[in-house]
Symmetry: C2
Subunit: 435 residues, 2 copies
C-alpha cells in the first residue's frame, strides 16, 4: 500500500508525543498497518523546543494542513472548541479523515461534526478524548458490541483521583494536595475543569453516547466536584468500608438515562476502588459479559499519543473501506440513535452518606431518624462520636439505603432545619457498583 | 445492507450463549452493524435442552454449515482440534469468514489456518479464545497499535485463580478447593488443563504473538501448574507483602521472548494482585501508554458469547472490505513477522521465593546464604520461624533478587544437598510487574 500521510495540528504535549511515537515506532506501526505512516506536515503557531521534528514541513497556519491535498488524515491536537472546530470541519469538507483528542469538541459539537463527516464519507476518530491511553472507546464500540450496556462508572479525571488518593493515603487536606498537584503539573493553574468535574462530564457524555446509542448531550450532565470533600469524610468513609472516588456514572434505566459526575463512596473491595494516583479506570456493566474494567494512564504526552496513534492506525487500516463498512462514530448508526431521555438528578436513585454536626443533647438522632423514616429512607449504618474535649458538637454520619434524590433532598432540608443540627448536611452519593 | 447470515457450529455452553445473545440483543446489534445478523443454520450433533432455537434449521452434520452457500460467517464452537480444524479449513476454502472461541485450535494450528484464510481473503476472528469476554485481543491488535509492547502478564485461567483466591481468603488447601471447584462446575473432572497451566499456555501463546509479532509457538511455552502450591506458601507470601497468582507472562527482551506460565508472587498493591475468584485480567506494559489492564469474566456461557458476537459484529461491519484493509490476524502483517527466538526457561531472569525445611541447628542459614552468594544471588527478605513444639525442622523462606533461572537452579541443587536441609526446596517465581 502507499504510505498514509498524516498532518499533525498542534505541537503541545499531545502533539509532540504523537510525533515522537509515530517516529520511534514507525517500523512496528508499518508492520501492523501494511503501509508506512508518514507525518507530511505539521501545523503549529510556534515551535516546541522539546520536540525535534527533523525536516518535517511546518505551517504556522493550521488550516493549511486541512487544505493540503497530500494529506490523508488530519490530527487535531490544538484543543479548545473554536479554532479546533473550524479546523475539523474544514478537514472534513476537504474529504480528509480526522483524528482528535479533544473531548470538549466532541462532547459539545460532536453531533454536528459527525453529521458533516457522514455527509463526506470520512472518519472522525477520538479514542484519545476519553481516559487517555485506555482503549475504552474501542471497547464500547466494538469489544462489547454484542451487549446491552447497563451502566458504566469511571475514574476519568486523573487530577481528581490524585487528590482523593493523597487525601486518603496521607491524611492531607484538599487544598494542600491541590497545590502540590498544580506544582507537579497534574492540575492546571485554574483547576476548575478538573476539580469541578467539567472535564469528567465531557468524557462521560461521550461514553454514554457510545454505550447507549443516544446523541451527545453535554448540557444534561449533572456535575459536582470534589472541592467540598473534607479530610474527615475520607476517614469516615474508610471506617465504613468505603473509598471516595470522583466518578462519572451513566446508567440506562427504564425511566431514562442517568448522567452524573460526583464524588462517590464505593466499597473498598471493588477493583476500581483500588485505582489510585493519576490513573484512570472505567468499569462497564453489560448484560452478556457482566462487569469488565479498563485501566491505564488517563493523560500525559505519550499515553494520550498512544490513543491518537491507535486511531491513525485504525483509519489507515480502513482507508479505502466504504463508509458503510466502518465502525459508526457513536457506535450505533445515526439513523438508529435512541431518544431515551436523560433523567434530571432529582429523579436518580442512589444511596447516600450524610455527615452533620449535632448538638450533644438527647433526642437529636431520633429526630433525624424520624425525618428519614417519614420519607421512606432507612439507615444502613451510623457513626456517632463523642464530642472532642470542650466541644458540644458531635459529628453524626449516616449511610442510607437507596432512594430517589428528590426525596433525600427534601429530608435533608428538614434535617437542616432541626434545632439540634448545626450548619449544612454534607451529602455524598454511595454506589455499590455490583453487577 | 443485506442481513449478515451466521451459521453456529456447536450448541454447548458457548454455542447456546451465542445464540441467546444474538437473539436477545438483535435490535442493538443491528443498530451497531447497520444490518441484521441472522442465525441461518445451526450445526450440532444433538439438541441442547437448555437452548430454545425456535425454527432455526439444524444440521446434525456440522460440515453442512461450512458448505451452506447462504452463510457468510461460520462460528466454530465445537472445541477440540480435530473436527474443529477440518471444519474451519473447509469454511475458509468455501470463502466464508470464521469466528472461533477455540484457544487450542488457534494456539496449535493458527499459523496454518491464517495462511489458508489469507489465501482465500477471509477473516478468522478469535476474541473469545483468550480471557473470555475481555476484549484483550482487540486491545492488543488495535487499541495499543501505536506501541512497542514490552511485556504482558495475565490471570487467564479462572479455575486456577478461584483456587488460589480461596486458599488465601479462607486458608483452605489446594485439594479441598479443587474438589469444590469441580462440584461448582468451574473445573473439569480432569482438571489438568486448568490446574497444570495448559489452558493458560494456549492463551499466552496467542497473546504473545499479537503483542510481539511472532508466529504462534505453543511448543515453546514453559508451563508450570499450581498443584504444588501449599497453603503455607500462600501465608508466607502474604507475610512478605505478596499474593500468589497463576500468571501467563510474555516479555520481549534483547535475548529473546520469554513465554512462561507459572505461579508467581506479585506485590499485593498491584491492581492485578486484587483480581480474585474466577475473574481474569491481563496487564500490558507498552512503551507509549505504560501499563494498561483489562479485567472481566474469562469464561462462562454469555461472557464468552459476548466476545464471539463482538467478532461477528466486526466481521459484519467489514464484510465487503478488501482483505488488505482488515486488521491482520496476528496484529502484524504476515510478511512482517519477527523471528526473535523464544528463550528457554533456564535463560529467563526473575526473582524467587524459596521455601525449605532446615534442621534447627546453628550454621544452616549461613551455609544457604553462602551458596546463594557464591552464585551472585542476594537475599532480599527472609522468614525463619521457631520450630513447632517437639519438631526439629524449621521452615526457612527466602526472597532473592533477580537472577538467571539456570543459576538459581544450580544453587537450589546445592542447597538441597546440604546436610541441614531436608527434602526439596519449593521455588516460586516473583515478579514486581512494575513499569
Amino acid at each position: 500500500m502507499n504510505p498514509v500521510r498524516v498532518g499533525i495540528c498542534g505541537l503541545g504535549t499531545v502533539g509532540s508525543g504523537t510525533y515522537a511515537v509515530l517516529t520511534r515506532n514507525a517500523a512496528e506501526i508499518a508492520a501492523r498497518v501494511g503501509a508506512e505512516i508518514t507525518v507530511s506536515q505539521i501545523g503549529a503557531r510556534r515551535d516546541n523546543p522539546n520536540c525535534d521534528i527533523g525536516n518535517t514541513p511546518v505551517s504556522r497556519d493550521v488550516f493549511a494542513v486541512a487544505e493540503n491535498p497530500d494529506i490523508d488524515i488530519v490530527v487535531e491536537l490544538i484543543g479548545g472548541t473554536t479554532v479546533a472546530k473550524e479546523l475539523v470541519l474544514k478537514a472534513i469538507a476537504n474529504g480528509k479523515h480526522v483524528v482528535t483528542a479533544n473531548k470538549a469538541l466532541i462532547a459539545e459539537h460532536g453531533n454536528e461534526i459527525f453529521a458533516a463527516a457522514a455527509e463526506q464519507g470520512v472518519t472522525v476518530a477520538f479514542e484519545a478524548a476519553v481516559a487517555g491511553g485506555i482503549p475504552i472507546i474501542k471497547a464500547l464500540r466494538e469489544g462489547l458490541a454484542g451487549n446491552k450496556i447497563q451502566w458504566l462508572a469511571g475514574i476519568i479525571n486523573g487530577t481528581g483521583n490524585f487528590i482523593l488518593s493523597e487525601m486518603r493515603e496521607k491524611g492531607r487536606d484538599f487544598n494542600d494536595v491541590l497545590a502540590e498537584a498544580q506544582a507537579l503539573g497534574y492540575a492546571e493553574a485554574d483547576p476548575t475543569f478538573d476539580v469541578e468535574g467539567i472535564d469528567a462530564a465531557h468524557k462521560l457524555v461521550i461514553l454514554a453516547s457510545l454505550a447507549f446509542g443516544i446523541p451527545l448531550q453535554f448540557d444534561k450532565v449533572y456535575t459536582e466536584g470534589i472541592s467540598r470533600i473534607a479530610q474527615e469524610d475520607v476517614t469516615y468513609a474508610e471506617q465504613l468500608g468505603y473509598r471516595i472516588k470522583h466518578l462519572g456514572i451513566a446508567r440506562d434505566t427504564e425511566q431514562g438515562i442517568e448522567l452524573r459526575v460526583h464524588p462517590t463512596l464505593i466499597p473498598e473491595k471493588r477493583l476500581i476502588a483500588n485505582v489510585n494516583g493519576v490513573m484512570n479506570a472505567v468499569l462497564v456493566q453489560s448484560d452478556a459479559v457482566g462487569p469488565t474494567l479498563y485501566y491505564g494512564a488517563g493523560a500525559g504526552s505519550e499515553p494520550t499519543a498512544s490513543a491518537v496513534v491507535a486511531d491513525v492506525v485504525d483509519v489507515a487500516r480502513t482507508l479505502t473501506a466504504q463508509p458503510e463498512h466502518r465502525v459508526p462514530y457513536l457506535s450505533f448508526h445515526s439513523g438508529s440513535l435512541s431518544s431515551h431521555p436523560v433523567l434530571p438528578i432529582s429523579e436518580v436513585e442512589t444511596a447516600y452518606y450524610l455527615r452533620m454536626s449535632a448538638l450533644d443533647k438527647p433526642g437529636v438522632l431520633s429526630r433525624v431518624a424520624q425525618i428519614l423514616s417519614d420519607d421512606g429512607i432507612s439507615i444502613e449504618a451510623l457513626i456517632q462520636k463523642e464530642p472532642p474535649e470542650g466541644a458540644n458538637l458531635v459529628p453524626m454520619i449516616i449511610l442510607t439505603n437507596r432512594t430517589i434524590e428528590g426525596r433525600l433532598s427534601a429530608a435533608v432540608s428538614r434535617i437542616e432545619g432541626l434545632e439540634g443540627i448545626v450548619g449544612e448536611v454534607t451529602r455524598i452519593r454511595v454506589e455499590s457498583l455490583a453487577g
